[in-house]
Each structure stands twice: as C-alpha cells, then as structure tokens.
C-alpha cells in the first residue's frame, strides 16, 4: 500500500466505523477506490472495526467481488449463466478465449486484460451479456462481438 492508499483507507474506515454492519460497505469502497483489497488494508480494517484479521480475511475471500490482487486494466466479465448459455455464450466465450489467449477465469500476466465469469446480469433476454470495464453490453455475438474484440482484446 502506498502512503496515499494508506490515508485513503484510514479515512474510509473512519467514515464507516459508526455504521451497523460496516464491513461490506467499507470493503466495497476500498475495492472501488483501489481496485482491490491490499493485504495491509485487511489488518487496518480489522483494527478499525475491532475485528480479527481472520474475520476480515474470511469475508474478503468469501465474496467474489473482493480481490486481494491488483485487477487487470481492462476487464471482460462474461455472463456464463443459463439464459446466456441458451443464447450461445459458449461460442462467444470460445472466440474471446481465442482472441485473447486467455481461458475464462484468467488474467494476463502484464495485467492488461482479464476474462472473468459472472453469473447473470439481468440481461437474459438479450444475451450473451457482459460487463466490459463495468459497462453492460448485450447481444455479444456476430458484429457486436467482433467490435468488442477489436476494441478491447486486440
């Protein structure tokens, strides 16, 4: 954690400490601000919220949204759930894998891109659906998929 991050985290802890059930909102804020939950922050949170490090670690690792590692600069979170399966996400996934050289669930070593599975975005009538750097995209096959590959995967 850099010093700036450290100050950020302390500030966020202060802001949430008084709230009931503060841990998830706090983790969301940190994840949002830094892109991940640094190990050092785990200890600080535990101290700030009067929890054990094991408690905080247990929560961070339970939830898919929280990560202990730095995220990739570009992220494709592809919905792999049933309605998108019914609309051909297997093909979409195979094309993304081939273009990116990643398997679903993998991140490039240089952190330029990750291809992550996610389970339903509520876009199930117009799948295959994905969040691309957090923004929703639907009907990801044909031209729209080609455009995504051209823009993000390269």
């Amino acid at each position: 954690m850099t010093e700036i991050d450290d100050a950020d985290v302390s500030d966020l802890i202060l802001r949430h400490a008084a709230v009931k059930g503060a841990l998830l909102p706090l983790l969301h804020d940190i994840q949002h601000r830094l892109g991940y939950i640094p190990q050092a922050a785990v200890a600080r949170i535990a101290e700030g919220l009067n929890l054990s490090i094991a408690d905080v670690h247990g929560v961070v690792t339970f939830y898919a949204d929280f990560t202990l590692e730095r995220p990739a600069r570009r992220r494709i979170q592809l919905c792999m759930a049933e309605a998108c399966q019914a609309r051909g996400v297997a093909d979409t996934c195979a094309k993304l894998e081939a273009a990116s050289g990643l398997k679903i669930g993998e991140t490039r070593a240089d952190l330029s891109l990750s291809l992550e599975p996610i389970y339903c975005l509520g876009l199930c009538a117009t799948g295959p659906a994905a969040l691309v750097d957090g923004a929703p995209q639907a009907r990801l096959n044909g031209q729209r998929l080609d455009a995504l590959i051209g823009e993000v995967v390269r």
């Binding site: 009931k20 969301h28 309605a83 019914a86 339903c120």
Partner: protein
C-alpha cells in the same frame, strides 16, 4: 409544437447503446433546429426491442425499436422527427402486442416517465396505497395484505400477510424491513425492472410494510451486478428525503431507508445468508428456527421480502385486497411478472394473472425461439428450477401446478433452450453452479456438487456406464435430503428433471456397449 422523445435509461437499453442513441438523436434534432424534450424514462420491460425509443408529436407515443446508435442517421433521413419514418416502427406503444396483452398491476408505471419524477409518480396513483394504510391502521393493513392472497415472489411462495403478522405482533423496541433485491436467479430481471423503472413503488411498499409492522428502519440489499438500480434507488431515497416523506424524522411516518450492496454471492439471496451479509459477515446460511420474523437482522424481528412482494402492496392497499385477489387461479392469487428469457423471440417482463400455460407463455406470448430453431427445453424458476420438455407445456403457471409436475416457479424466470442444447451438459452446469456458490456449511452441498460435476465429466468424456447414471440419482437424493437450504436441496431439480425428461442426452454419451445394455 412540443416534441417529446423518450429513450430508456434502463440497463438493458444501455447495454445496446441507448446513451449513444439518445445523444445521436438529440444531435440530429439540433442540426434540424428542432426543439426536442428528451426524457430518459424507465424501460417498459420488452427487452428484445431495446433501445425502445418513443416519439410524441402531440398525438400519443409512437414506438421504434430496437434503435441502436447506428440506426439513428437512417431514421432521421426518413423523416423521424416528422413522424414519417417506417423502419423499426412498432406503432403506438400501448398497442404493441407484448405490452397490450399484459395485466400490469405492479408494473403499471414502468416506462411511462423518468423513474425519479415524483410528480408523475403521484399523478399516476403513487402513495395512494401508503395513505390508505395510514388511515386503516396497522392491524387492518396487515389484514388487507393477508386477504389479497399475496405470496412471496422471491421463490418460496410464503404468504406475505402471515409473515407481516408475525412481525407486527412481536414485541420489540426495534424492528426491520429488509428488501431482498439480490435477484441471483439467471433468467430473471423483474426486480431490476422495478428498481430501475419505478423505484418509488418499491419504497412505498417498504413504507407500507414498515408502518404495518412497526419498523422504523429498512434496508434494500441489492446485488452489485445491478449498478444502475443501486444508483437510481439511492437517488429515489434522496428525492423522498428532501420532500420529508422518508427518513428518521419524516412525517407522518418516520422510516429510514438504506441501500446495501451485495458482493457477488448467489447464496446471499437466501434470507438468513443475506442477514449475515448485512451484518458484515460471510454469507453463510443460518439454521431455522429461529425465524427471521422473530429473530432477524441484528437479532430483531424482521420482515424480509422480495422486491416484487413489496412492490405489489401499494396496489393492494390502494385498490383493496379484492382487486388483487380477483386475479389468478387456485392458491396463486394476483399477477406474476413472468420473465421470458434465453432463446426467445419476444423476451422481457410479462406481468399476467397466474394460470396461463407454460406453452402459452413460450410459444404464443414469447413467439418461440429468436433463432428460429425448435424449442426443446425450458428451465423455470432459476438455476434451482426444473427443466420442462414440450410435453409438459400444458402446465399452468401457478405454484401448485408446477410443484405437482416436479418443478417450481420460483421467482418467475422462464429460460428457453433450442434443440441444440445438450441436457447432460445442463445437468453438469447445475452441479457446477452449486459447487461455485455453495456457502460451505453442509457436506452434501459442498462435496456432493463437486462429485456431481466429476460424475458428469466422466459421462461426457464417454467413460460412463449405467452405474454413472445411478450415481447421479444417488447424489441428488443425498443433496435433496441432507442440505440445510435450497441451494444444495434444490440443485437436484434441474439435474433430475434433465435426466427424467431427456434421458437420450445422457445415454448418448455412454460407450456403445453400455448403451446396448441400457436398452436391453
């Protein structure tokens, strides 16, 4: 002449470029020197045609869709702003068959206006239900909800009024209303549509619940996969707080409401896991009893209801229990927002009284597949719901009828698969999803699901035998009876329904010798 343009701000519309569509249309209007009022309304829930743009030249709203950003130039050249464009024209919006055929009680306002326009909300009947609740008093409000026959729309179908009554009569200094907006079931998006298109109706429902049971604090637990819903809810709360209608000092009823965000765990939709998560812990399921109604959030009596259950109550209070209970069949009263998804020609939220057959919904309303291939299987009720073959398409959409056929309606998701589906792979996915999402508390769910994946992998690799199929059935039995919650307990529904209704998809993977044995 006033010229109004509606472009939805809903996530499904945005996922197809609605923001850019709106920008392109406004730029074209400006180039023509036109004075156009742009309204970013909510979606009407007919997602297949999003972005569904509506143009009002003073004689009603004419719909066009799907208007992706690339289509705008062509439409404008055709005379769009003069009402002359024919491409993508769907006609007067309320005449569109998918919308016209609905009975919209909960979704009456979805898509009509800017979801945060409080004046429109009031004008279209908003807060009538809450006001009537105030005049009825607590006990009579709960009685009204009981009499409506409303059952929980989150999946289990428990009578909402009875739950409220338990919390109302519990003695406690603090009680809570928790809205379950985790909507994790694939193939469902009705909660999302409520939150994005008409957030006030959900908040009003929570105010009614809070008043009825004597709770002064509410939480909406919304999944993180719905960033727009979270944003709209927070802004809707702020609007009502500014008006003095909501908040710890609101009059005539003080009710404080907060949005909390999930963190990508399906099991947190289970009510006790959700409470754990709200309290800041891992989302592990609690054993019941004690019931959340008596010993819920922070140990206090808590109403926990699905978005749709809560959002149905303003209508029930405003129009009376009878008006709601008149719709439906048997013990399934009122309307259900059925969600048509997967390979379907007309997909989206279809609110209708209980009782339409599955075949009516898929073939008639939904228009069959979008791909043009034959319908082969339909999964109803999310990832824990059974797969139905066409043979069972006469099953009426109601809780008991689905249960009688070995299925469940759950949260109302209907996912259509065409004839390219391999049901053995779908069974594998059901186990896989359970393995990924298991909270880890019980062995049958945690270990059984992983064993299920391995077993189906053996089968799919062509190394299975008749015994492999037996093992799948055994595992399912163990999970069904040995799991604490429905994640482990209901995963057998998709697995066993696939095996029962589509055995050929499993037998096809058996080595030739074993297959002969099967048919011997």
């Amino acid at each position: 002449m006033s010229l109004r343009l509606y472009v939805p701000q809903d996530m499904a519309a945005r996922a197809m470029g609605a923001d850019q569509t709106a920008a392109n249309l406004m730029a074209a209007a400006k180039a023509q020197g036109l004075d156009v009022q742009l309204i970013r309304n909510g979606s009407r829930g007919y997602f297949t045609v999003e972005p569904l743009v509506e143009l009002d030249l003073g004689q009603g709203r004419i719909a066009y869709g799907p208007v992706t950003p690339e289509c705008v130039a062509g439409l404008v050249a055709e005379g769009f702003f003069e009402g002359r464009a024919q491409t993508l024209r769907l006609g007067p919006v309320e005449q569109i068959p998918f919308l016209k055929r609905q009975t919209r009680l909960t979704f009456a306002r979805a898509g009509l206006s800017d979801p945060l326009d409080l004046a429109s909300y009031r004008q279209d009947g908003g807060f009538k239900g809450f006001e009537r609740a105030l005049s009825l008093g607590q006990a009579a409000t709960v009685a009204e909800v009981k009499a409506s026959g409303l059952r929980g729309r989150g999946g289990a179908g428990f009578p909402t009024g009875i739950k409220w009554e338990t919390v109302r009569t519990a003695a406690a200094s603090q009680k809570y209303i928790v809205c379950n907006a985790d909507e994790g079931d694939s193939g469902t998006f009705a909660d999302r549509l409520v939150m994005e298109s008409d957030p006030f109706v959900l908040i009003e429902g929570m105010m009614i619940a809070g008043f009825a049971v004597g709770a002064s604090k509410g939480y909406i637990y919304c999944r993180s996969e719905y960033p727009f819903a979270i944003d709209i809810l927070n802004r809707a709360i702020a609007v009502l707080e500014t008006e003095g209608l909501l908040g710890a000092t609101a009059k005539p009823f003080a009710f404080d409401l907060e949005v909390r965000v999930g963190a990508g765990a399906y099991v947190c939709g289970e009510e006790t896991a959700l409470l754990e998560s709200l309290e800041g812990r891992r989302g592990q399921v609690r054993a019941k009893p004690p019931l959340p109604a008596l010993h819920g959030l922070f140990g206090k009596p808590t109403v926990i209801n699905n978005v749709l259950s809560l959002a149905a109550t303003p209508f029930i209070l405003a129009e009376g229990a009878g008006a709601y209970q008149d719709f439906g069949v048997g013990r399934s009263r009122g309307t259900m927002p059925v969600q048509l998804a997967g390979d379907i020609a007309h997909g989206g939220v279809f609110e209708t009284p209980f009782g339409l057959s599955l075949g009516d919904l898929v073939d008639d309303i939904g228009g069959g597949t979008e791909s043009g291939r034959a319908v082969r299987a339909v999964q109803v009720g999310g990832p824990l719901g059974a797969y139905f073959p066409k043979r069972l398409f006469d099953t009426p959409f109601d809780y008991e009828a689905f249960a009688a056929r070995g299925g469940l309606i759950g949260h109302g998701g209907v996912v259509v698969f065409n004839d390219t589906v391999d049901m053995a792979r779908q069974a594998r996915f059901a186990f896989e999803f359970c393995a990924i999402e298991s909270c880890g508390k019980c062995t049958p769910c945690r270990i059984g699901s992983t064993r299920g994946v391995e077993t189906l992998d053996t089968l799919l690799a062509g190394r299975g035998s008749q015994a492999t199929l037996g093992l799948i059935a055994d595992l399912s039995e163990t999970m069904k009876f040995g799991s604490l919650c429905a994640l482990g307990g209901f995963t057998p529904y998709p697995v066993m329904s696939a095996l029962e209704h589509f055995p050929e998809d499993f037998h096809r993977h058996l080595p030739a010798a074993a297959e002969k044995l099967t048919w011997a």
